[in-house]
Structure formats: structure tokens, C-alpha cells
């Protein structure tokens, strides 16, 4: 299989174009800030950003003027509070208007599943008795052909590009992950192009030694990018902790639009790449995020001759 390893700048330049629908997913974990910052640096505009939990990653992208629309299900800074930049865009159109297409978590999960499955719709027992279908006409109801009861449906979501972070992949894009798997697999299969960003690029023998751990097969991956700490300030299970200090600081500074622009200037525009961002953070800060060791017991697949 072909070698798909490229650097982040090339991957973003090649796959992320103005006006596209982009999904940088990862539920609290595996959020690829390295990619988001590179997209900001490359000055993309008019993106539709899909993500269950926009988190700081989309708060920063919205503040940078990258986005025209959000498709989402929970707007919060997990465990901390609000996403002030997105609120500013929604409540006061700063830096500009932001269109919202809103679901519940299950609705977003269903949209990705339908996308991955090439289904025209995904049925879910949800939304009855709520105001969401009133504000989102994409949520509809159909009759169950067996019992006649009504059930909600959501349409498929097909991002143009998905950017997914994980612990490791081989150069062909066979990707293994552990921890909160969220909708990573579904997003990969739902998307037209898939960029996988990993902490470690490993020999295919590592992947082949545990095929059940492969979350995203190389068959659907277009590019592999190697960026250690690429999910900072979010986390990667077993590799580093969430940098909660940064999440808390963001809660404070992001209340002020000017301070946000200064932050973006200092931490995104003025740094060349994620390695420069990490250097600026300092090795000791990153060192403190490293967890102790909790290895899984080995399992054996057996040799069958």
C-alpha cells in the first residue's frame, strides 16, 4: 500500500479548501488543535465546521474568522463553562454572523452513521416533545412501517474532510486508538477525505499484532500526519493529560475579543508550526502532563499454520 505520510502544512494545503465542510472530531480527547491552528494560519474562510462539542478548537477557529457555520450538539467548555467566542458570534455577530445547525448528541451521532453508511436518513427515537425540530427543519418525522408510530430522522452528514487524532498509525493510515472512541470511526467513513494525525507512526507489524484495535482502516485514509502532542491542550489517553490550565485560562481571556486576537497572534499566527507552539509552551509544562503507567494485559491471537 502507498505511503501516505505528509507534514501538516501540506495536508491542510492539499485537502482543506475555502467553503468546505470540515469535521475535527474527538470527544474531549483526541482534538487536533495542531490541524486547527494550521487552518487558521493558512487563512481558510467560509468553512462549515461540524463537531458534536465545538470545544476550544472551534471557539478559536470562529474567533479567527474561519467559519461561516457550525453543525453541533453541545456548545460548552467541558468542565469549565461557556465558549465565549462562539457566544459572541451568535449573540453579537462578532467577528461576523455564525449560522447554527443544531442537534442533540444522538442526532449528530446518527448523522455521521448515516453518512458512513450511505443511508438517506438515520432513524432515532428522539426530538418528540422538543423545540429542536422547529428550529432545524432537517429533523423530520416518518411513520414506522410495522406499527405506524412516528419516529424522528436526521439526514446523513458527509464532511468534505475529517481530521482525526489518534495514538498511532502505520504509513498506510491503519489507525489504532484507545480511550474515548466517540464517533471517530463513523466520521472517517462518512467523510470524502480523511487526515489522520498521530502521536506515533509505527511499523505495520505493530498494527498487525492487534487487528481488533484498528479503529480506522488505511483503506479510507488519505493522509497520515505525525504530530506528537498534536491534540494539546486536549489529551491523548496514555500519552498526555488535558492541559486544564489552558482550558481555564481560555475561559477568562476569551471573554474579551481583543485578548483573543492577541492570543491568536501570539500562539497561532506568530508560530511556524505545532512544534514551535510546543517549544513556546516549554518542555516542563508538557512533561507535567504525562501520566503514570497503566498497561493493558497482553492478549494472544495465535499462529495458525
Amino acid at each position: 500500500m502507498e505511503d501516505k505520510l505528509v507534514d501538516m502544512r501540506s495536508a491542510i494545503a492539499a485537502y482543506v479548501q475555502d467553503g468546505m465542510t470540515l469535521a475535527i472530531e474527538g470527544f474531549t480527547a483526541f482534538i487536533c488543535f495542531a490541524a486547527a491552528h494550521e487552518i487558521i494560519r493558512q487563512g481558510r474562510r467560509g468553512l462549515t465546521l461540524a463537531r458534536m462539542t465545538p470545544d476550544l478548537v472551534y471557539d478559536q477557529m470562529v474567533a479567527a474568522g474561519v467559519a461561516k457555520k457550525l453543525i453541533f450538539s453541545y456548545l460548552g467548555n467541558p468542565g469549565v463553562g461557556s465558549l465565549h467566542c462562539i457566544r459572541r458570534a451568535v449573540e453579537h455577530s462578532i467577528p461576523h454572523e455564525l449560522e447554527l445547525e443544531e442537534y442533540s448528541h444522538f442526532g449528530m451521532v446518527g448523522r455521521y452513521i448515516a453518512g458512513a453508511s450511505q443511508l438517506p436518513f438515520y432513524p432515532l427515537r428522539s426530538y418528540s416533545g422538543t423545540d429542536l425540530p422547529r428550529v432545524n427543519p432537517a429533523i423530520r418525522f416518518i411513520a414506522d412501517p410495522y406499527e405506524g408510530t412516528e419516529i424522528a430522522v436526521v439526514p446523513p452528514l458527509h464532511p468534505d474532510v475529517a481530521i482525526l487524532h489518534a495514538q498511532r498509525a502505520d504509513r498506510q493510515g491503519n489507525t489504532q486508538a484507545w480511550g474515548i472512541l466517540g464517533v471517530q470511526k463513523e466520521v472517517a467513513f462518512a467523510s470524502r477525505k480523511v487526515i489522520v494525525v498521530v502521536e506515533d507512526v509505527v511499523d505495520e507489524e505493530v498494527i498487525r499484532a492487534d487487528p481488533n484495535r484498528t479503529l480506522i482502516p488505511g483503506l479510507v485514509v488519505d493522509a497520515v500526519v505525525h504530530v506528537p502532542f498534536g491534540a494539546h491542550p486536549s489529551y491523548v489517553q496514555g500519552y498526555y493529560d488535558r492541559d486544564n490550565k489552558m482550558y481555564q485560562e481560555w475561559d477568562d481571556l476569551s471573554r474579551d475579543a481583543d485578548r483573543v486576537q492577541a492570543w491568536l497572534q501570539e500562539w497561532v499566527y506568530a508560530v511556524e508550526d505545532h512544534q514551535a507552539y510546543l517549544d513556546k509552551l516549554g518542555a516542563s509544562r508538557l512533561e507535567r502532563l504525562k501520566p503514570g503507567s497503566a498497561p493493558a494485559h497482553s492478549i494472544d491471537y495465535g499462529v495458525y499454520r
Binding site: E91, H105, I113
Partner: protein, 253 residues
């Protein structure tokens, strides 16, 4: 050990409401502590389930969010999100869902989406997340929130998560067999829902509070139980577990 905070009593009340329960969908913070207290007292078989797909977590520190890595390491199971929503929640495997809210009406319907108009909100709140599905699919829900007129409103600005819906309570969500909101636990009183009208009903006061004080924090004419009781204060054992094991940092003291 004498004396306790309103938050501690909230924790104790929420824990007691979980007697004998075997599966609960829970977030972080106060409700999480309540579940852990329940496991150690009235619900030894209680399995904590997080929206992030984690079952049987054994966190080494107080988790900061439902996606904290400390709840993964040492958990019994971590399921992908489709499994959590399809098989556990919609599949009817969750006995009790715990929900917070920004607004609640007299039928236990919840708003966590906007204050003001949806298209031009005064305050944009987080939205549903999984709350809408927890409300619809947990076999019953317990709502945990502080009592205030801003929260206990006459009319929601947006209905994010259905409770008992309209006055007659006669319209169950399609195809879903569930009980809806069972209790509301606040820092001043406990509420249940009338089995006939499904209207929220003041059931028990925290020690030292009057029904008038409580009614003053609710924006509609509050229904009061025939046998209004006073909440039993935290027991020595309950308080000891909270303070020594679950909230040793004293966040809720």
C-alpha cells in the same frame, strides 16, 4: 461533624433517591458525588455510566469532565458513542438519568438551549448534548438544580428535553416507554410529580426552611403535597463518606 451545607444535603438527597438502582447516567460535579455516595450506601450494585461511553469508572482523581482520562483508566468498559446512544440509552438499559438545567417548568420540561429567542438569544446556552435523549430514554430521570425564580419558570424559552410535557401529561413521546421526571432535588426542597396531573409538587423542605420561602423561588403557583415533610438531615455515615472520600477537597462543604 455537626452542621452541613445545603450542597451536602443535596448530595445526600440525590444519593437516597438512587436506592436499589443498578444503572445511572451521570455527569461530573455534585451529581457524580451523589452517585458515589449511593454506591457506598443504598445502591451497592449501581453502575455509573457516562455520556462519553464509560461504564464502571474508577477515577484516581475527581474528574473534571465526563471525558476526563481518569475515568477511562481502570473502567470496566468504554463504548464508542453510537453504542452508548443506540444500545444503552435508546436500548432502555439505563434506569435513572440525572439532569441539570437552566430552566424547568411545572411539568419537568427542561431548557438548556437559549435564554430569549432562539434566532437572537440573550444568552446562548450549551444546548442539548445528550440531555434530550437521557430525558427520553432513561426509565426515569432525576433533575438536580438550585432553586431560583430564574430557573423555575412559568414558561420555558425553549424546550430542549421533554419532561411530562403539557398540563394533562397525556402525550408521551413517540414509541418511548419511560416514566419521565421522578424527582427534582434542589438546595432548599425536594419535589415530586403528581401521578395524575404530572404537575410538580413540593414534597419535602430542607430543615429550617418554610413553604413560603420555597414558593417565593418558583414562578408559578406551586402545588404542595398533602403531607409535606422535612428532609432527614445527613447521617453521620453519609457525611463522613462525603467529607473523607468523595469531597475531601471540601468543594461542597
Amino acid at each position: 461533624m455537626s452542621g452541613y451545607s445545603a450542597s451536602e444535603l443535596m448530595i445526600v438527597c440525590a444519593a437516597r433517591a438512587l436506592r436499589g438502582v443498578r444503572s445511572v447516567l451521570v455527569g461530573v460535579g455534585l451529581p457524580n458525588i451523589a452517585c458515589n455516595l449511593a454506591r457506598r450506601t443504598v445502591a451497592p450494585d449501581l453502575e455509573l455510566v457516562y455520556e462519553s461511553g464509560v461504564l464502571g469508572a474508577r477515577p484516581a482523581r475527581l474528574p473534571l469532565s465526563i471525558g476526563d482520562p481518569t475515568i477511562i483508566s481502570g473502567a470496566r468498559s468504554v463504548m464508542p458513542m453510537p453504542d452508548l446512544f443506540q444500545y444503552l440509552l435508546q436500548g432502555g438499559r439505563i434506569e435513572v438519568g440525572l439532569l441539570g438545567t437552566a430552566q424547568i417548568d411545572r411539568f419537568g420540561n427542561l431548557n438548556t438551549t437559549v435564554i430569549g429567542e432562539y434566532a437572537a438569544p440573550d444568552v446562548r446556552l450549551p444546548g442539548s448534548g445528550g440531555a434530550c435523549e437521557i430525558a427520553l430514554h432513561a426509565r426515569r430521570t432525576i433533575i438536580i438544580t438550585r432553586l431560583s425564580r430564574r430557573t423555575f419558570v412559568e414558561k420555558l424559552d425553549f424546550r430542549t428535553s421533554p419532561g411530562h410535557l403539557e398540563l394533562d401529561g397525556s402525550r408521551p413521546p413517540s414509541g418511548v416507554a419511560r416514566g419521565g421526571p421522578g424527582q427534582v432535588i434542589t438546595d432548599k426542597a425536594l419535589f415530586t410529580f403528581d401521578p395524575e396531573s404530572h404537575e410538580m409538587c413540593l414534597q419535602a423542605l430542607y430543615p429550617g426552611l418554610t413553604r413560603e420561602e420555597v414558593c417565593g423561588h418558583v414562578a408559578w403557583p406551586l402545588k404542595i403535597a398533602d403531607e409535606l415533610s422535612v428532609v432527614e438531615p445527613p447521617g453521620e455515615n453519609e457525611l463522613a463518606i462525603i467529607r473523607e472520600q468523595l469531597d475531601s477537597g471540601g468543594m461542597y462543604r
